[in-house]
Amino acid sequence: MAYVAIADRDHVLHDPQTFIRKYIWSQDHKVIAIQYAITAISIGLVALAMSVLMRLQLGFPNTFSLIAPHNYYQFITMHGMIMVIYLLTALFLGGFGNYLIPLMCGARDMVFPYMNMLSYWVYLLAVLVLVAAFFVPGGPTGAGWTLYPPQSVLPGTPGATWGIVLMLLSLGIFIVAFTMGGLNYVTTVLQARCRGMTLMRMPLSVWGILMATVLGLLAFPALLVGAVMMTLDCLLGTSFFLPAVISMGQPPTHNGGSPLLFQHLFWFFGHPEVYIVALPAFGIVSDLLSTHARRHIFGYRMMVWAILAIGCLSFVVWAHHMYVSGMNPYFGFFFATTTLIIAVPTAIKVYNWVLTLWRGDIHLTVPMLFAIGFIFTFVNGGLTGLFLGNVTVDVPLSATYFVVGHFHMVMGVSPILVVFGAIYHWYPKITGRMLNDTLGRIHFWLTFLGTYAIYLPMHYLGILGVPRRYYAFGGTTFIPPSAHWANVAITVSALFVAAVQLVFLFNLIWSLSKGKPAGSNPWRATTLEWQTPDTPPKHGNWGPKLPVVYRWAYDYSVPGAKEDFIPQNQPAGDQTPEGEPAEHVPPTAHGAPV
């Protein structure tokens, strides 16, 4: 069947002229990426503000009376849900995925641009429905971000009438938006790579985003199933999840439902979700490290295989979130084993990052600082994950601050450090200007050290047995006064770190007009997005001709080459001195890649 690829169709090249078509109802992947990013960061700031209010309550329970107990639960719920789904998932896949996939693969745009546009607007709708929960009677749900029934729908939990329904509705809408975007990302990677861009020549950023999207496409349906069934329980009175509960002295309205079923569905989505956030971060950080260390990524093939292995394994570990829900010991044994196995490919990635730095020509630019900060934070967070992956250790620690410290390190701070690094790295391409370096360094050091000051003490609090999820501890005797002082210190650090993010926001806006002009390739990077004819890239990305790729993405410091980087679209003959065969690179030149 004769078929014309979308990249070749003429209409893609016609620049949209009006302001509205260009910046609002745009089908250009770069504009959609920026729309996604701005929306995600804005709603993320709301979640940040909520965490500040919660920390004020925990650090100074008797001084500030800004929030009531029911607000605390609502904020804890919204903070978690927004950060994990509406900020990180949307920013990594909708933001970076949209911006980087076509540019890194050498495509003019996503394969289905109209659906891409629709994906953003549906996502915005999901965010608006989520925010609407603040303005309905009873406010947003306070069920915790896991929304466990039966308490999420029983009276007494904040937002048990309106809030929970809006939350479930918003999640459903988000999943529709994500599916539209995800179809695009996967199809674009499979279809629209330029000539010469084989799968194994793709930068690891694309690999990470691709695998995360596949995970999302297969895992989000579990959340959708849970959300649909819980909505029916709330609105129609079915008993999928709700057992017979005598609530507030009223006779039970439901009968026989299984709360455990919801937990299984939720975590069947919830654990892959960890990797939906982590894999793009893994990919992006690999590219940052390689570029700023002027060295090829160590063990490229291992990195790709590890991404695939993590993706597959992430579907068989979900019940390690449910050790305290009660389960057959053999079941727990199985999930503890798979959980520890998934540490193997993850550790391979960490070793390869460190070995990429070894003997590299390390430039401590701001993106590099964030990338190295990520390695430290991720290792710290990952090691406590080994503790919690074991049933016998998890059971006493599960309800304490140890868990809060662990997942904020591994799933909060680590990906956010990569987000920052990626923004400092690609901002010059997106806007044509550099971000201010001094402000960037201030931002990095205060954020990096500040987050350690927040989350490291939480591990000690957890081992002391300080329970999480509590609004105030009152006169609990087993919690020593020193724990309270730790809480004060954590709150002060949290306020500090939150304030430092304002420096970052200021930098983003100030540099738009006042930043140093960046030129087309300020980091002297090899990947295709830095080789566009215009910076920022115009609609259609590549001018009249698509690029052709001749090499992998990591030709840094190749011996004999004129410069310390060779762009992917540079033909083989150009950089090799005469007399040496162009098709062959001596193995010693690259060390010995795995």
Binding site: M1, Y3, A5, A7, D8, F112, T179, G182, L183, N184, V186, T187, L190, Q191, A192, R193, C194, R195, G196, T198, L199, M200, R201, V214, L217, L218, P221, A222, V228, M229, L232, L236, T238, F240, G256, G257, S258, L260, L261, H264, L265, F268, H296, Y300, R301, V304, L308, G311, C312, F315, L546, V548, V549, Y550, A582, E583, H584, V585, H590, P593
Partner: protein, 224 residues
């Protein structure tokens, strides 16, 4: 749940094997040049819309797989509150209508390949009408159950019956929207157009897929 896991593992395995296995052992740092064999602007050589549809089918399979897992788990966890319901007889009629609808789609696809505009038209419209008949029949089944006192709030078997048939019906409804657009496009552009042929082909794949899903769901509902 274990079934879903097995399914997802299998699905990922097949995808990785089929698409990637050979390419994943390439050593990109050793070879330079364009490697002309594998790449073009349409890298797989398959229309993008077809790949998009197959990915969508994987997502929908995951969705229904999880619904069915939930069905079985709710049955196990429920401590004896599960009372099987009498399956309305009209469902057999509906199933026949859906099979015929799928067969008509297949005929339309065959006719589109041979470029018989009239036959495509007739078969395509017949397929759509039969699918509508199926949906009407499903509503009839709901009504029948409701009239005999099996409300959605009643026992979980009833609730699941409404839920599973409802979700399947919604997917068919989505298919009918695409079907209507295909019919409209065909009257505008004629069956010779590549786009129309592709649309008919993709509708056919989706129809067969939803028939398969329905047969599985019907089997699950009948067996419990």
């Amino acid at each position: 749940m274990s079934l879903t896991v097995a399914f997802v593992a299998l699905l990922i395995g097949v995808v990785v094997w089929a698409l990637l296995a050979r390419r994943l052992i390439a050593k990109p740092w050793e070879t330079h040049g364009t490697m002309d064999t594998s790449q073009g602007e349409n890298a797989t050589g398959v229309p993008s819309a077809r790949i998009g549809l197959w990915i969508l089918l994987a997502v929908i399979t995951s969705l229904f797989g999880l619904f069915i897992s939930a069905y079985w788990m709710r049955m196990e966890h429920g401590h004896g509150d599960w009372n099987p319901i009498p399956i309305p007889h009209v469902l057999w009629l509906n199933t026949t209508a859906l099979i015929l609808s799928s067969a008509c789609m297949q005929m339309a696809r065959g006719a589109a390949k041979g470029a018989h505009p009239h036959r495509v038209n007739v078969a395509l419209i017949a397929a759509g009408l039969l699918a509508l008949a199926f949906l009407a029949g499903q509503l009839l089944a709901w009504q029948e159950l409701n009239a005999s006192g099996y409300f959605v709030t009643g026992n979980p078997a009833t609730a699941f019956f409404y839920l599973l048939t409802g979700v399947h019906g919604l997917h068919l409804l989505g298919g009918l929207v695409v079907w209507a657009r295909t019919v409209a496009r065909m009257t505008r552009a004629g069956v010779e157009s590549i786009d129309v042929r592709l649309s008919v082909e993709l509708c056919t794949v989706y129809w067969h897929y939803l028939l398969l899903v329905w047969l599985v769901l019907f089997g699950v509902l009948l067996s419990t």
